[in-house]
């Protein structure tokens, strides 16, 4: 039993939670207790089982073994009905999912009151719903315009609506899954300040994270999950960065580092490019990428990165401005044109854009070159050449699969990323666009991706690295530019920058003062 703040009562207890997905052990005998008014960080790598555990708590999944108990009105712990989000809500558990559970065609108010009154009745909510919400917003500091459609709110505002949803239902336990993934560092600070004030009002809070800094800064206690098991549960005061990293990964960690190297000639130039529409568009973006250089693009997701990536992938034309590859203008009508120009693209959403899940590993390895002379003759596929290529790539990139004939959908995220890396990097591209290349991967797979990108740089390719992970950006990038509301700051050598200054630029400060 851990020592909580003071002698606060336990409000939630998970004991012996085990959950299997087929052969995969997502959670194994996990115990976790939560006391009134404390903030617990649930720390672990991608795939460690954090989200699964919280989904069991909230009733999205049913545990194979183990119980969830919640304090009732009398303060006694009682087992909660498994597999029912309704039961979890009634027990006072509120969850803020990583992907928001908001209907974007409704207003914030409508989202909050949804399901809080019987469905068949006139009038959307109780008579004093608005008064209660006003009071909640005042007390928690979570201000938001209740009467505009959620689709028109910013990501930070949408998250506030999610928290208000939980508070409106009198949540006594608040669970947040990777709450800072979509926020700027400054927005994150504000969020944690809010969480602290909520905890002070007696709410117990669990937040899931894989970021060591925020765990150390914001939690009272840390529970560490590794490969589905809880490997540590200790007061944050007794932790430091190194210790948490080792607990999380299971061994000492050596991050990737780039070797210093003078950049070569100019390779890819964007000049005053405007493209896309709506919030994610880019406006008047310009930069030059050199040979043997990694250019990092920092920014909170949804500030134009996706549009920039689609533009460089040949999927979206520029409305204004020009692209030059080695001083020659690039006219791309589709992704095929970009591939033939030597621009390799590692897409952000590898499951949606990276592979055709229902096709085989071999087919996915050759899909970009299927019209090339290597894999076809007179329009008929050369199966021997395709199989040979699969064997070669599976060995070279250590793709863990039963063979080239295996269906790609069944592979893990890390192995799917290896398929994408093999087919894009082996073609010997001059430019590599890597969009969030390590998102969702564990440390081993992330290291793999980083080594491949550094190898491409060493070979003389130029790499554009779009990432939200400042650690990754600082470790790999020669220069860093920040994208905010579609505007890109002038790239600067990463040695001249630090996390705080980049964080401020991600929030929109200083961008105007940059020289073009």
């Amino acid at each position: 039993m851990t020592t909580g703040p003071g002698e606060q009562p336990v409000v939630l207890a998970l004991s012996g939670i085990t959950k299997r997905f087929g052969a995969l052990m997502a959670n194994e005998g996990v115990d976790l207790e939560l006391r009134r008014g404390e903030i617990v960080a649930l720390l672990g790598e991608n795939g460690a089982g954090k989200t699964t555990l919280m989904n069991i708590l909230f009733g999205h999944y049913v545990a194979d073994e183990g119980t969830v108990s919640v304090a009732g009105a009398d303060g006694r712990l009682q087992p909660m009905e498994p597999g029912s989000p309704g039961a979890a809500l009634r027990s006072g558990i509120g969850m803020v999912h990583q992907h928001f559970t908001l209907a974007e065609n409704l207003t914030a108010f409508e989202n909050i009151v949804l399901g809080t009154v019987p469905l068949i009745r006139p009038g959307l909510a109780g008579r004093n719903a608005r008064a209660r919400l006003a009071e909640l917003m005042r007390r928690s500091g979570l201000e938001v315009d209740l009467d505009i459609r959620v689709s028109r709110l910013s990501v930070g505002e949408q998250q506030r609506v999610e928290i208000l949803k939980a508070l409106y239902r009198d949540a006594r336990v608040l669970v947040l899954d990777e709450p800072t993934a979509v926020l700027t560092p400054q927005e994150s600070d504000t969020l944690f300040a809010t969480l602290k004030s909520l905890a002070a009002q007696g709410i117990a809070i669990v937040f899931i994270s894989h970021k060591l800094a925020e765990v150390l800064a914001a939690s009272d206690r840390v529970a560490v999950l590794r490969l589905g098991r809880k490997v540590a549960d200790l007061p944050t005061a007794e932790c430091d960065r190194q210790k948490l990293a080792e607990l999380m990964v299971g061994h000492a960690v050596t991050p990737s580092r780039r070797e210093p190297k003078a950049p070569g000639a100019a390779l890819l130039t964007l000049d005053g490019v405007t493209a896309g529409e709506g919030r994610d568009s880019i406006r008047d973006v310009g930069f030059t990428l050199h040979e043997g250089e990694i250019l990092g693009i920092a920014g909170v997701s949804g500030n134009g990165q996706a549009t920039l990536a689609r533009l460089l992938s040949g999927l979206l034309p520029a409305e204004r401005g020009n692209l030059f590859l080695r001083d020659k203008p690039v006219h791309a009508h589709d992704a095929g044109d970009m591939i033939r120009s030597g621009i390799a693209r590692i897409p952000e959403d590898r499951h949606r854009d990276g592979v055709v899940g229902a096709m085989t590993v071999a087919e996915n390895l050759v899909i970009e070159e299927i019209r090339g002379r290597r894999y076809q003759r007179f329009g008929f596929l050369d199966f021997a050449a395709i199989a040979a290529r699969a064997r070669e790539a599976i060995a070279a990139y250590d793709i863990r699969c039963p063979g080239g004939g295996a269906v790609a959908r069944l592979l893990s995220g890390g192995n799917i990323q290896k398929i994408v890396l093999a087919r894009t990097l082996d073609a010997g591209p001059v430019v590599v666009l890597a969009a969030q290349p390590s998102r969702g991967l564990d440390i081993g797979a992330t290291g793999d991706v980083h080594r491949r990108l550094l190898a491409a740089r060493a070979r003389g390719a130029g790499v554009i690295l779009i990432s939200e992970d400042l650690d990754e950006l600082f470790a790999l990038s020669d220069r860093i530019a920040v994208i905010h509301r579609g505007h890109l700051s002038a790239p600067r050598p990463s040695e001249e920058l630090d996390r705080a200054s980049v964080g401020l630029m991600m929030a929109g400060h200083h961008t105007e003062s940059e020289a073009a």
């Binding site: 545990a63 589709d334 591939i339 949606r352 055709v356 096709m359 087919e363 899909i367 008929f380």
Partner: protein, 359 residues
């Protein structure tokens, strides 16, 4: 509570067994409407079997009925592989038939070796063009092809009626709205004396093999599969998605058009507005029963044709309405949809008791 667990590997036996089981279940379910009509159930089944397989003639009728179904089934299978929802097989069939009649009733006179290929090509071309319009509306303007192809079916059939009552009306037809008869040189040769089965069947079988090879072994086939399974990833990998849709649309429409050619130039010899009893729609069921496999389409078409021919013969004998056949076809579509679940998932029943023990 029912739980679906995805299967990692699906055995071929299960893949083939599931639709066969679905077809059998649909056939068994037909006993309900037969009994409801007050007819002897066993005798009805016996009569249906005899009507479909009981004699060489019966079987030749089945083959004649299967011929257009193989072609419309292929049309649906190819389109659905690319997730292009071509529900317009019926209209494309009539377009093909209309073109065949336009070429084959005397507009051109040539020896069979020349005229037959011309008739076939004209029908395929017309069917392909008929599907080109909705495909372009989809890829250029984003108009849902399900609705456009469905609505065009009605337009085409009205156009056929208009032609048959107007410029293409047979002056010797005693006032009936029908086209002039096809020239003998334009007719697909019969396969058996005094039977209706004709060489359109050979054409259909060749097309099934050709489509199979096309999808499995060619670059275009590869691209069609990729676009159908994941258009985003296909586009991202440089596959020309729009061109692929256009190709699929043309091929699918052409196959349905061939079904029209086969009916007019193989069986009827002239065009009427009731040429097809819904072959285009039934082709969708054939394709689904076949699991969208071109070779499977042949077997599915034989099964469905057996139902139709058997039900017709049974209906004549004991008076159960031959709409029974349509009912069995519809039921088998629903059954094969459900059977797909047993292929893709392991289905576990989780009793509340077991759940409580877990908790």
């Amino acid at each position: 509570m029912i739980r679906f667990e995805p299967r990692e590997n699906v055995s071929p036996a299960r893949r083939i067994g599931a639709p066969v089981a679905a077809a059998l279940v649909a056939l068994l379910l037909a006993s309900l409407p037969i009994a409801a009509a007050g007819a002897p159930v066993l005798e009805a089944y016996l009569l249906m079997a005899r009507g479909a397989f009981g004699s060489v003639f019966a079987f030749s009728e089945l083959l004649a009925r299967a011929t257009p179904l193989i072609l419309t089934g292929l049309a649906a299978a190819v389109a659905f592989r690319a997730r292009l929802w071509n529900i317009g097989g019926e209209g494309q069939l009539y377009a093909g038939a209309l073109a065949a009649v336009a070429v084959g009733t005397g507009a051109i006179s040539a020896p069979p070796a020349l005229l037959i290929p011309l008739v076939v090509l004209a029908g395929a071309f017309a069917g392909g063009m008929m599907m080109l319009l909705p495909t372009l509306l989809k890829v250029r303007l984003g108009a849902d092809e399900v609705v456009t192809t469905l609505l065009l079916n009605f337009v085409v059939i009205l156009a056929v009626q208009m032609m048959l009552e107007g410029p293409m009306k047979d002056p010797m037809g005693m006032g009936w709205p029908q086209s002039e008869p096809m020239l003998d040189e334009a007719m697909l040769p019969k396969l058996l004396e005094r039977m209706r089965v004709h060489s359109g069947l050979i054409l259909a079988l060749v097309m099934a093999i050709a489509v199979h090879v096309f999808l499995k072994r060619t670059v275009w086939g590869f691209e069609i599969r990729a676009v159908g399974e994941n258009p985003e990833a296909a586009r991202h990998a440089g596959i020309p998605v729009t061109a692929t849709f256009v190709r699929v649309g043309l091929l699918s429409g052409a196959l349905a058009g061939l079904a029209g050619v086969s009916e007019v130039a193989g069986l009827k010899g002239y065009l009427t507005a009731d040429l097809s009893p819904g072959f285009g729609y039934t082709g969708i069921v054939v394709a689904m029963l076949a699991g969208l496999s071109p070779l499977g389409v042949v077997f599915a078409a034989l099964f469905i044709a057996g139902i139709f021919v058997g039900a017709d013969s049974m209906s004549r004998a004991i008076g159960v309405s031959n709409y029974l056949a349509d009912l069995v076809v519809a039921t088998s579509l629903i059954c094969v949809l459900v059977s797909g679940l047993f292929v893709r998932f392991r289905i576990r029943l989780v009793t509340p008791k077991a759940r409580k023990a877990d908790a």
